[in-house]
Structures are given as structure tokens and as C-alpha cells.
Amino acid sequence: MTKLGKAVQSYLLVTPQTLVFLLFLLFPIVMIAVVSFWQFNGYAMVPAFSFENYLNVFQSEVTLKTYLNTFKFVALVWLFTLLIGYPVAYFLSFYVEELRWQVILFLVCTIPFWTSNIIRMISWVPLLGKGGLVNQLLLQLNLIQQPLEFLLYSDFAVVLGMVHLYIIFMIAPIFNSLMRIDRTLITAAEDMGASGLQIFQEVILPLSAPGIAIGSIFVVTLVMGEFVTVRLMGGGQAASVGKLIQTQIGSLQYPLAAANAILLLVVTLMLVVSILRVVDIRKEL
């Protein structure tokens, strides 16, 4: 086939997929940006070019508070998914010896990801509720006199729920980059007399940094836009940017919701860019 023919073929092949993303990803986001300058007359949105929505967003005290709360969730969920996810991925890639078992155990970690998020969250209720299993156990052991209330419908529950839902997004990229590390490097380090801790610090950790970065990008972006976990596990009090936007959509204030969504997108992109500045992930792609 000619060079031109090949190029045409490539473009034809990527057309359907690109169309899907243009129609349902790019165009909607452009429309959000447009609508964020429109106005709301109490019933419907009216085309306009006003900065009123943005002024509203930046002047509102709620905005800052909600962002601070969302950042708190992001930081906590990121920290826990990393602290739990890294040892899990490290165990799978360096301590499970047969490839077959590595695959099976990795699948065991992955399967819940393919099931319903809603059900996974509801599942915590009989464990953490006021009359739940954890409280029953603690009461019986006489460790507490009153059921602990903070276990469910609290910030604690929100973080727990999100770690449970999103940890696979941290484990998979870290596992991937750990599996790619050339094992002869470890042997070389051992031969030169490095201790186990030194090998981890000087060889394994730096080489798995891109995996950590990719996992962090996933976790950070997923948590930034979260509103379902916050609603189901936070029980009304907990706030997040996603939930704020969802409430505004519920009351049909699309232009205000759009302005908030654009701000959310900008903040999220800034977080992604700053992660990319710390770690170079191009080798992984």
C-alpha cells in the first residue's frame, strides 16, 4: 500500500472512536464553558455574556470551604490508597514467584472494580452503622459503652468508602511499573552489598515512581469530582465540589453549576500538571 493510502486508512480507523469523544466529551465540555457565561432567570438559562456566575462562585464563602473540604478528601484518599496499594503491588510483583499466581491474585484485587459502586458502598452499612457489626463487637468486648457514631455518615466513612472504591486505580499502575523492573538490577545491587532497605530506596522506589504518578492522577481526579460516595456515606453533612455542583443542577441553575464545573476542571488539571512536573511518566506510555 502507498504511504498516503496507509495514512488515510489510519485516519478512517480512528474516526469512530474520535467522533464519540468529540460528541460526548469535548463538545459537552465546550458547552459547559459557554453556558457558564449565560444567565439564569429563575426558570431557565438565557444566552448572555456575563461574569456573574464566576463572581458568584469566587465571592461565595461556601466555595472556598467546599474546596478545602474536597482537598482534604483528596489528600487523605491519596495517602491511604498509596500506603495500602504500594505494599499490595510490591508483594504481588516481588514476593509471589509464579506468574500464574501473580495473575490470579491480581485478578482477585481487580474483580470488585467490575461490580456496582453503589452496592459496594451500601455494603458498609451493616458493618459500620449504629447497630452494625463493628459497634456490636466493640460493645461486647466492653471497649466502648456507647455505639460509635462517627463510623457511618461522616467524613471518616466517606474516606473509607472512596479508598475502597478507588484503590485499584493506584494498585494497577504501580503493579505494572514494578513488574517492568529488570530483576538483574536487584541482583547487581545485592552483589555490590546493598541492604534490602537500600535496594528498595535506591532502585525499586525510583523505578516505580511513574506508576505511583499515574495512580495518583487517577485517584486525585476521581476524588475531585466525587459526589455519590459523599452523599451515600457522608449522610448530608459532608460537602464536596461535586456534590455542590450536583445540588445546583438539581435546582436547574445550570449556568452557576457550569461556572463551578469549569473551576473544578481547571483546579483538577492544575493538580494533574503538578503531578506530571514531579514525575516523568512518558516512559510508561
Binding site: V20, W114, H164, L264
Partner: protein
């Protein structure tokens, strides 16, 4: 070389065990609570054993319907499966060569995964509103599901083609096969196990999708949306029974995907 298992191994193994318990423990509790008799409640202890609540799911419900949303989700899942696999296989074929704009398209695809999901929901909702079209699970809902399932299908297919030996294709072409014939008779049979697996995974992704669809499913709910509605209304173990049934359904799809993949690829090796 088989090393002596160190204390580090045992502590990491124990940590891994706890992690698996953390992943599956909550699921197991609702399985147990859904297998109760009519006197069952939402919390432990399990009062009696029975299938009463599983049966209740199929009865007429005061607070929600299970059958019709389930049918909708099945149909939508099938649509998403076919479209995602079709688009992803085509695009990943193209991505075996560098072409102008390929990096841009790659980033567009990845950004679909990392854009906060509320923007998808709001954006598609706004587009439909501005165009004056009613949102519906099989139009706006389908679009939202594709933004989630398609990038994942694409990434997996890229990985599949990375391990694909192009020699077979070149041989077919040298023997005079056309582009379509090469694809249909050589490439497709070779990647078929992965295609089936990816398709079924896309199906479960769509079947369980909630956040991107939540605001734009229109008048009729998909199953996850119906279940979300039930969480605020239903105060009987019927809620757990629904959860148990749909989770078992997802599990069996994953199992079928896995079995189909391994049977298929074993047959190929023979």
C-alpha cells in the same frame, strides 16, 4: 533460585490477606443478610436462614421496580459492548503505526477517563437542554457510558496489539490477501479471545455505571440509578437482596469472560 521465605514475605502476605478481606468483607456481609427469612432485618445478627428477600425482589415493589430497569441495563450494556469493542479494535489497529495527530487522539482518549465524571453528566445534560432534546438512557445515557467504557477497551486493545506478532499479517499480505481479508481471516481470529473478554468487561462497566449517567438518564432509570433511589426508601433486606443478585450477575459475567478467554486461547495454541 528459590529463596528462603523471609519475615518480610510473611508480613506482606498477611497485609495482602487483610487487604483482600477489606475488599470482599463488606460484600460478604450483605450476602449473608440477604439470605434471611421474613423476620430478617438490616443489621446483624442473622435471624433465620431463607430465600424470602431474594424472592421479594421479583415481587411488585412499593418503592421501586427491579425488572424493567434490569432489562434496560442489559440492553444498554449490550449496545455499549458492541460500540466500544468496534471503535476500540479499529482505533487500536490504527495505533500500531504513528500518524499525525495520533498523540492528540491518545490524550483525548485518556482525558475521558480522568475528567471529573460530573462534567460528563452536566455537559451532556446541557447539550441536550440547549438543543431542546429530551435526555434518555439510550441516547445521552449511552454517550455517557461510552466515555467510560471505550477508553478502557482502547487501552486494553493497545496492550493486546503490543504483544501481537505482525508476521502472520505480512505473510497473508504477501500471499495476496486484501486488507479486509487479512483482518477477517488472520487478525480477528487471533485477537478474538481478547475481544470477547474486553467486550464482556465493557458490558459490566456499563451495567454498573452510575455517576456519569446519574443526571441524564431521562425518565426511565437504569438499574444502578433505580438501586440508588432504593437506598433512601427501602428499609428491608430486599435492598441487600438486590445488591446480592446484581453482584452475582456481574461476577458471572466476569467469570464467563475469563473462561471464554482461556478456552479460546487454549484452542488457538493447539
Amino acid at each position: 533460585m528459590r529463596r528462603q521465605r523471609s519475615p518480610v514475605f510473611y508480613s506482606l502476605a498477611a497485609f495482602f490477606g487483610l487487604f483482600v478481606l477489606f475488599l470482599y468483607g463488606p460484600m460478604i456481609t450483605i450476602f449473608m443478610l440477604s439470605l434471611q427469612g421474613p423476620d430478617g432485618a438490616l443489621t446483624f445478627p442473622v435471624r433465620s436462614f431463607g430465600f424470602y428477600w431474594l424472592g421479594q425482589v421479583f415481587q411488585e415493589q412499593r418503592v421501586g421496580n427491579f425488572i424493567e430497569p434490569f432489562q434496560r441495563s442489559l440492553l444498554l450494556g449490550a449496545l455499549v459492548m458492541v460500540l466500544s469493542v468496534g471503535c476500540a479494535v479499529m482505533a487500536s489497529l490504527a495505533f500500531r503505526r504513528r500518524f499525525k495527530g495520533s498523540i492528540l487522539i491518545f490524550y483525548l482518549t485518556i482525558s475521558s477517563l480522568i475528567v471529573p465524571s460530573i462534567l460528563i453528566s452536566l455537559g451532556i445534560g446541557v447539550v441536550f437542554q440547549v438543543l431542546g432534546v429530551q435526555t434518555n438512557w439510550f441516547t445521552s445515557g449511552l454517550g455517557a457510558h461510552l466515555t467510560w467504557a471505550l477508553p478502557i477497551a482502547f487501552l486494553i486493545m493497545i496492550g493486546v496489539f503490543n504483544r501481537f506478532n505482525p508476521a502472520y499479517e505480512e505473510a497473508a499480505r504477501d500471499l495476496g490477501a486484501s486488507g479486509f481479508a487479512t483482518f477477517g481471516q488472520i487478525v480477528l481470529p487471533l485477537i478474538a479471545p481478547s475481544v470477547v473478554g474486553v467486550g464482556l468487561l465493557c458490558f459490566t462497566l456499563s451495567y454498573d455505571e452510575f455517576t456519569r449517567t446519574s443526571l441524564i438518564s431521562g425518565q426511565y432509570n437504569t438499574l444502578p440509578l433505580e438501586i440508588f433511589g432504593m437506598t433512601t426508601n427501602v428499609t428491608s433486606p430486599a435492598l441487600y437482596a438486590v445488591g446480592t443478585l446484581t453482584t452475582l450477575f456481574s461476577f458471572s459475567i466476569i467469570l464467563i469472560a475469563f473462561i471464554a478467554y482461556s478456552l479460546y486461547s487454549r484452542r488457538q495454541r493447539q
